[in-house]
Amino acid sequence: MSEFVITEQAPISLDISKYMHRTRDGKIKTAAKSKSGLAIKTTMFVLLTLTIYGFLTFDYKDIDMAKAVVGTWSNIKVVFGQPMLTYNTFPGALNALLVTFSLGALATIFGAIIAFFGALLCAKNIANPTVANVTKSFVAFIRAVPTILWVLIFTISAGLGSVAAVIGLTFHSAGYLVKAYAESIEEMDAGTIEALKASGASFWQTVFQAILPSSISRMTAWTFLRFEINFANALAVGAAAGVGGIGFDLFMAGNHYFDLRELGFITYVVVVAVILLEMLATRIKATVR
């Protein structure tokens, strides 16, 4: 209680100018001296320079910009303003949507299982550092190859179809989730693991009694986020590699039948599906927490 008694202020040094940093022309500086400020400026400068250099050196192939923009604008109006199916039926489109959804689901399930064990190998708080580094490098390599290339590579050994698509999607999915799961495990309380180890629990007992229960909600959130991405990727490889699903229908509508209205209708089906998926994911994430 006696702490709160008003005391006289400490005497202040009148010579404050010695604390002022000045520029060459004698003005008082205000900015903090920090590495991060310099790094931010450098990064922005480099990125802007690369952007400008890019625009100056791109091969535009003598495109008539005005014509292309006007044409695209009228195409956009047709796609989003007059959607209509001609070559496809509505049940057919829904079926294709279901195929894409299933491809995404399979890749997510495989990816999650692989990633769970992968994360145990590379989470800092439980893994052996050497094993962790090897796993991390391997995962970085897997992630660096674009999904479409994995799909095309697997098409050669497994044929054009769902196996190539699912395995191709699984690679990147697992790589992404290993990183996310490992972070979820690393965020858990270090004391819990220590306490269990001290009580003589085996590695797998620690995993299933401590690690899984305390990080399952974060892992679930990441898994659903990845499912949304996998759905989009399944759609994309469907279009680019021709492995089927609604992505392939998009490709056929645009690049084969040249039918903007068909493209529009399928786009709407996709957009509604994406929004529903996002809402579902938000709800499941909320119930898990």
Partner: protein, 273 residues
């Protein structure tokens, strides 16, 4: 106090927690298993084929992806297309980020714009986020043809939508409190943005930009396959000609590029945060 002791000591309660947890796990497991079964049936997915394909593909890659002399002679072409793809990714991300930043300022709660304006911004961002880049690419192909700009705009729209939402969240999270204080000093909206919003959210924003550059390199490879541009086109070309050693060199060069960018980004992130 007595209440707490009772709660802890009552064995019934404790077991019921375990039973409940067990039940949730069992239900979740059955749900996932059912989803797996149905999905496999719909897509005609053969589990055994799937497992067998992995060692097969690995063996095949090891045999065919070794670059031979012909592949090495194509290295200049490959590097040119690779740098084009990398530059497109950087340019797309930077342009989309600049637009998204100004756009997101109209949609945040922190800057307190009119409610109808903030809502419109969010709806527009949701539109661009939810229309897949593949759709934009197919649509743009009609008028832009097999041009570098087709991929540029397709990725621009998707990146713009995603970054706008992310920036709105970042700005609201990072700068809401200092913006309130700046308003209280009598600062105007523009002064608040320059003195409060930008300095406090810039590191997060740059971190997102670096992440998107990395993502867009992969995305533009795919768009390249679809629109016959960039490194994606080159891979597709060699792949269809069954010139697998050149295709392998393309894959290797992409891997090196992406990992380099990832490492650079991580280093930069550590310094700026």
């Amino acid at each position: 106090m007595d209440n707490i002791v009772e709660k802890v000591l009552k064995p019934q309660n404790q077991t019921s927690v375990f039973i409940k947890r067990k039940r949730t796990f069992t239900l979740a497991f059955l749900g996932v298993a059912a989803l797996f079964g149905i999905s496999a049936a719909i897509t005609n997915y053969d589990v055994i084929d799937g497992f067998e394909s992995i060692p097969k593909a690995a063996y095949w890659m090891a045999r065919n992806f070794i670059p031979d002399e012909k592949a090495w002679s194509r290295l200049p072409d490959i590097l040119a297309k690779l740098s084009e793809t990398a530059l497109v990714s950087v340019a797309v991300t930077v342009c989309a980020a600049i637009c998204a930043f100004f756009f997101s300022l109209l949609g945040t709660e922190t800057t307190k714009t009119a409610r109808w304006l903030a809502r419109t911004v969010r709806i527009v961002a949701a539109f661009f986020r939810n229309v897949p880049d593949v759709v934009w690419a197919i649509l743009l192909l009609f008028s832009f043809g097999q041009n570098i700009l087709t991929g540029f705009f397709a990725l621009f729209f998707a990146t713009f939508g995603l970054l706008t939402r992310t920036f709105i969240e970042t700005i609201d999270e990072v700068s809401a409190s200092c913006v309130e204080a700046l308003h209280a000093t009598g600062a105007t909206g523009l002064q608040t943005v320059f003195n409060g919003v930008i300095p406090s959210s810039l590191p997060e924003i740059i971190s997102w930009v670096l992440y998107m550059i990395e993502t867009n390199i992969r995305a533009s490879t795919l768009i390249g396959v679809l629109t016959a541009t960039g490194i994606g086109y080159l891979f597709d070309l060699y792949y269809k000609r069954m010139d697998y050693s050149s295709a392998g060199l393309v894959v290797t060069s992409i891997v090196i590029l992406v990992i380099t960018i990832e490492m650079l980004s991580n280093k930069t992130r550590k310094v700026i945060m």
